[in-house]
């Protein structure tokens, strides 16, 4: 089978991997700051709807609609950061899950979002090159970020918040920024998602998807963006790869997750580091 046929048959999957990697990166940056902020699916949804509406109703070109969508999701992320700034751990998680549910209900009930029926007929101009180009841009940006002092601040906030405060780091600013960045990346993913599906509906951006993104990050390695992206890619391919297992696919999904958690809690990135260093 040549490359062209392979692509034709698997183009949807290939696109999906790119989008999932973006989503994993958007959560990863928050997790790196120790924030269990589970609102990425909601940010993605907001961006998807904004980009769909401006494309369909105002005929904006792809780039403009993506930027508008990212702006919207980043602003929402920034606004969300304020009320939750004092929440930590599970409480932050639950607050953001609740936020996600509220967004879902709003999308379900507004006429501009097409209500529960969603929006269809979005021009599918987010082709594979566009998706992977965006992924590359984001990856480069995150890499550049990892070379700055800010990324050290992020890591310290995660490891020991009071110590970070002690050395003069503005913890609130770190948390706000990482959440906003996460919102921007999720927004990019959302806009691209809208322009690669024919159809978006509120159910696409609910807790189910959020859970998935979280699982990818954990499997890949909570503190490693590369790990998160790889985790996303692997777990997106997995259901297709084990399609032959038919009825046992779901169990296998859960089993793999469990095994990774129990035996490699630092995820794939952790295994890699362990291997590179020669011992645990």
């Amino acid at each position: 089978m040549n490359l062209a046929t392979f692509y034709a048959q698997h183009s949807k999957l290939i696109d999906q991997i790119g989008l999932d990697a973006l989503l994993a990166l958007s959560l990863s940056i928050c997790l790196q700051a120790g924030q269990l902020a589970l609102a990425q699916a909601a940010f993605m949804g907001i961006a998807a709807y904004v980009s769909a509406v401006v494309s369909l109703n105002f005929h904006w070109p792809l780039l403009a609609s993506i930027l508008a969508a990212m702006l919207a999701s980043t602003i929402v992320a920034g606004v969300l950061a304020l009320p939750v700034r004092r929440l930590r751990g599970i409480f932050l998680a639950i607050a953001t899950i609740g936020f996600g549910e509220i967004v879902r209900v709003v999308a379900n009930n507004l006429s501009i979002t097409g209500g529960a029926e969603g929006i269809s007929g979005i021009p599918p101009d987010a082709t594979t090159p566009v998706i992977y180009a965006s992924l590359a841009v984001v990856a480069l940006a995150l890499y550049a970020l990892s070379r700055t002092k800010f990324s050290l601040a992020i890591a310290l906030v995660r490891e020991d918040e009071s110590a970070a405060r002690g050395v003069g780091i503005d913890v609130g600013f770190v948390r706000f920024t990482t959440l906003a960045i996460g919102g921007a990346i999720a927004g990019l993913a959302g806009a691209l998602y809208a322009h690669s599906q024919f159809f978006i509906a509120p159910g696409d951006f609910g807790f189910g998807r959020m859970e998935q993104i979280l699982v990818w990050c954990v499997i890949g390695g909570v503190t490693s963006p590369l790990g998160a992206a790889i985790g996303a890619a692997l777990l997106t391919i997995l259901p297709e790869a084990i399609r032959f297992l038919a009825d046992y696919r779901d169990v296998t999904d859960g089993l793999i997750l469990l095994l990774v958690i129990l035996f490699a809690p630092r995820g794939i990135a952790g295994l890699w580091r362990r291997g590179a260093r020669g011992r645990a």
Partner: protein, 292 residues
Amino acid sequence: MIAQQLINGLLLGAVYALFAIGYTLVFGVLDILNLAHAAIFMLAAFATWSMLGAGLPLPLAFLLAVVLAGILGVLLDRIAFAPLRRRNAGTLIPLISSIGMAIIFGAIARGIYGVDERHFTLPLLDAPPMRFGPVTFTTVEISIFALAIVLMLVLTYVMRATPLGRRIRAVAEDSVAAQLLGVNLEHTIGATFFIASALGGAAGILTALQYNSVTVDMGGQIELKGLAVIILGGMGSITGAVIGGFVLGGVETLAIAYNLSEWRDALAFGVMFLILIIRPRGIFGKRALRAA
């Protein structure tokens, strides 16, 4: 109409409360959010359906399914949480672990029962409803409500007046001190999971009977609503879970009664969000926020 809506709200609230107690017990003792709770909720309902299909009488099937749910909870702990405890794994990892178990439980249910909705064929369910003035309810509904209240009372008794309850509360308060005082940590945790999951399972069975419907995804909605309940009532507080359950049931029912039906979920989570911002420990929560 208000009277009937009140009844509707009480019924909804009772089931919410029963389910949320399971969440809050585990969180109080272990600081873990167990996202496999809803899966056990569902499995207990299916187990009951199977047993009824095999000819067992309802009370026996109910009892056996509740015990089964408890056992599943203990298993869940042994497989997914206990190994992580030894490793001091924080709060995120056990959460993911519970997601993994939830997926496995779901897959098992789907494997055995498929994705179709199951119904009960109990003559009890066809019994004519009873009317008292402006309100109507059925035998099933009153039984569900009564059973939920009884279970909550039993739990309160266990927690307040039995040695086991004291041990659980001690571990929830301070697990290290409790161990120093001779409490067997693993046994107590196991017992906590048994009770929590048994109650969650009971909630599942009652829900299935109430709507005459058992599906593999029946836990999806209540999984998230349960979060709102424990935040409202206070994480770790059983009284909070009960009160929170009824408050949420009431809020949702009133939302429908006052033409806000489509927004009722947003309302529930909006209230939860507000509580988290204004008073994160909820109405009855005693623990201060931990920096996780």
